[in-house]
């Protein structure tokens, strides 16, 4: 044992482990920058949609059918969760599944750093993209297109965090279940339409028939749109959508942990 401990200098372990995590995050961020397709989907598409809707004069008329909201106001929360959905379905699980396919997670498990760190680093990087997208849509919708300043910024922040929680946990569950990077795309295409439908992309929640609205309330995107909409228009959102999002976060995270394979 004595000769074993000899070559290990008394390094400040906590600091060096933080440095190792920092290195992983740095390389994951580089990869995102060099393959910007996910950033285009999760930041570019929402911003372009917002500009198109913002430039349509009809979208700035309060409509009785939307409960007195303008079309633009009704669509900003939907556009926000649209960006998060792209990350959930592609940005987060895509790299993780390909790392498993390429044997990178396996390689990491032979080093002092566990492969879960790579997963954590992905979450950090994708969180950065998510927050950037949300911030751009929020700031530009208010400053450029005259959307109302959120009534409850705290409620909005909490709603966004819980929406990210529920959706990222879903992304990790997809990463756990998808056997190949191609199957991530297939799952994404299948899940995208129903998720976005209940967010109100084609039929805003304000004009959804009661039965669809009830279903929407219990979907991750429906609850997220409700919580964000309320935070912007009326004040701190009611407990129901927040609890729905929190429950999705816990359940998806539990299932992802349960089924995740490292090789």
């Amino acid at each position: 044992m004595s000769s074993l401990s000899l070559p290990l200098p008394p390094a400040p372990r906590a600091a060096s482990r933080a440095a190792a995590f920092g290195q992983i995050v740095r390389n994951e961020a580089r990869l995102v920058r060099r393959q910007p397709v996910n950033m285009i989907g999760s930041i570019g598409v929402p911003v372009v949609l917002m500009i198109i809707f913002g430039e349509l004069p009809s979208f700035h008329q309060p409509a009785a059918s939307l409960g007195g909201l303008t079309g633009f106001d009704a669509y900003v929360p939907i556009i926000m969760v649209l960006g998060l959905t792209m990350l959930t379905l592609l940005g987060l699980p895509g790299p993780l599944v390909s790392y498993r396919e390429l044997g990178i997670l396996r390689r990491l498990s032979t080093t002092p750093v566990p492969p879960s760190w790579l997963l954590a680093a992905q979450v950090v990087v994708q969180l950065g993209i998510a927050l950037t997208g949300l911030l751009i849509v929020n700031v530009v919708s208010v400053t450029v297109f005259g959307a109302p300043v959120p009534k409850s910024p705290a409620g909005l922040a909490l709603s966004c965090l819980l929406a990210i929680g529920g959706l990222f946990a879903l992304g990790l569950l997809i990463a756990a279940l998808a056997p190949t990077a191609n199957s991530v795309n297939a799952i994404g295409r299948l899940a995208l339409i129903p998720l976005l439908f209940f967010a109100g992309l084609w039929l805003p929640r304000a004009i959804m028939p009661a039965i669809l609205l009830d279903i929407s309330n219990y979907t991750p995107l429906g609850a997220a749109v409700e919580a964000i909409q309320d935070s912007v228009q009326t004040g701190f959102p009611p407990a129901a959508p927040l609890l729905v999002l929190a429950a999705y976060t816990l359940v998806f995270a539990f299932l992802a942990r349960r089924f995740f394979r490292w090789e």
Binding site: M1, P7, L102, T110
Partner: protein, 330 residues
Amino acid sequence: MATLDGIAAGSRELVEAPAAAGGRPAVEVAHLRKTYGTLVAVDDVSFTVAEGEIFGILGPNGAGKTTAIECAIGLRTPDAGTVRLLGLDPRADRDKVREIVGVQLQAGALPAKLRVGEILEEYRSFYRDPADVGELLEVLGLSAKRGDYYRSLSGGQRQRLSVALALIGRPKIAVLDEMTTGLDPRARRDTWELIEGVRDRGVTIVLVTHFMEEAERLCDRVALIDSGRVVALDTPASLAARARGGKSVRFLPSAPFDETLLTDRPEVSRLEHEGQHILVTGTGELVNVVILTLAAAGVTARDVQLDSSSLEDAFVKLTGKNQQKEGALA
């Protein structure tokens, strides 16, 4: 070529190496067993690797080599048996073992759009006392590729990068699974030189390989694994000698002679005619015996070829399989 001081466990350990050579083994594997359902991947595998040794694990495809190695480094939990790496249990002492054992697994890729230097810097940060990236790249002949994307590397360069990642933590034990598969002969030879250089700095090396030539050239000892068991464990030369029960000498006699002169000698076990040539099989100082005996009878042996049997012969004999062909197909 750059000095290897930077990547090996450090020359300061060399002082200890002679003492350690007779002491604690680097790797101890005892009665390892691993099954997947009804499939017995590893039946009963035991071997010991001394510090500073290059130890080869040979065997046909599906023999259980990789499973045995994965159990040995703690990636898989064996059903039975014990493993000690420099006295440590790879699962109970996981963190310590990860620090001192560098592993290159078969068929591992890396992100296409990371640069060679970025990948090495990342893995370097995982270890307490890592090698210098620039030095390691130079030794591996990858210096010019430091700024290149992984996807632009050739198969050989990717393989060398993979070996580099196994060595970046300056391990005391390096486990390399099919390290030169897919390399061209030149790159393979370069890699062998590198491995010898790493060993010369006191690192223990466990090689899983398909290539007989590689095992013969590099390994101090070889374990031949077949159907989950060690069927032979010896130096490559002894294994080869065992395969044919000795060596053989082929020659063209200058004149006919009494063959019992040779077959009566204790060193000679067999004499065969191959056209004009004669093939004598036996043991000991066979060449000297043949030439001196013939000279005493006034006969000269011309065109003498010493045909010592190879590790491949041993492999075929012990496993009944032709590894080289499988290797070429794999």
